[in-house]
Chain length 90, copies 5
């Protein structure tokens, strides 16, 4: 999983079936110090994350497993809102 | 998911079974400001996206889930045509 | 999917079961102008692509879906021989 | 699989169902000489790895297979605590 | 698939169930001229590859398909020992 910050929303009226009702957030992935890494990606969210929240994001096929039908064509999902991280400086 | 712009088409007469009738688009992935990221990739499309449209693209195994048979050998698909994005400057 | 050109062959006598009879090609992925991107990868081929052909390659788990048994340990496959591409300059 | 060192922990109270009770570690992937590669990622751990341990990490869909239900939305997991590595200088 | 050279071994006594008895090799991925690409990764091996062998490696979910149970948490496997490659200079 990766850590990042919710930075925006995306809206699409015309879309594949099965995506209706899902919320899509732009998430800026970061290193453990909060420095942005790569460009923002779009993650589905079901747990109510909002702009500014630090979140854990799961990528790839595992993202589908938060949706009970599992047939939804998504490749990234917010799985947790981070309370705190604790990383040892090296 | 990633955001990008449809920039072209690709045609292949000789291809694997199961791909007949699918439309293939070149999509240039972008950051949230529309700046191109990486080289264009080829995504299947079933929702009627055209050149110039801003689209959401799902990558990896989830791409197959827009096709009812699910056995189609594709790894990228357009899942939505984007109406608007709203990204907080940081 | 990605676009590329077939640039070579690879032979391996000692290999995992289930791979016997599959043809393995080196494919140089390219951008839409034919400029090489990354190093060549090895893709299975069942449609008869040869050196110099421009091909579409599917990566990841979807590659297995061209093989009826689906249990073959391959992660890249040629899915089409490209007739033409049409990409808008930006 | 990749090799890395456990460098921290992450806590998230609000999270997807099915993640309760799983431990999440930050792992800094490394080359075979211990030089950091990319930014730390978050891996689930069930075998009791702790800060400073050198670990093997499995990425992608295979990560789910350490959980008996397999429906857990994780994409990285610690699969072993490394005793020793032996790499030939080239 | 990717090509590379076996450069080492990794040992882990404490590991996830199902990995017992599997051999883990460090493989340095290479381009078609043998120049190293990225850092070495760890691949499972069942066909008896040894240090110095040129091998084909399958990445991702397909790696599990060399193991009959398919539930083993591995994401890379040696699928062949390469006899020869033949790549056209461009």
């Amino acid at each position: 999983m990766r850590i990042g910050t919710v930075v925006g929303n995306v809206w699409a009226t015309r879309k594949e079936d099965g995506l209706t009702g899902l919320k899509f957030l732009f998430v800026q992935l970061e290193d453990t110090k909060g420095v942005p890494v790569d460009v923002p990606l779009i993650a589905a969210d079901r747990i109510g994350a909002g702009i500014g929240d630090t979140v854990m994001v799961t990528l790839g096929s595992a993202a589908r497993f938060v949706i009970s039908e599992k047939d939804v064509p998504i490749d990234a999902v917010v799985i947790g809102i981070v309370d705190s991280i604790d990383v040892e400086s090296r």
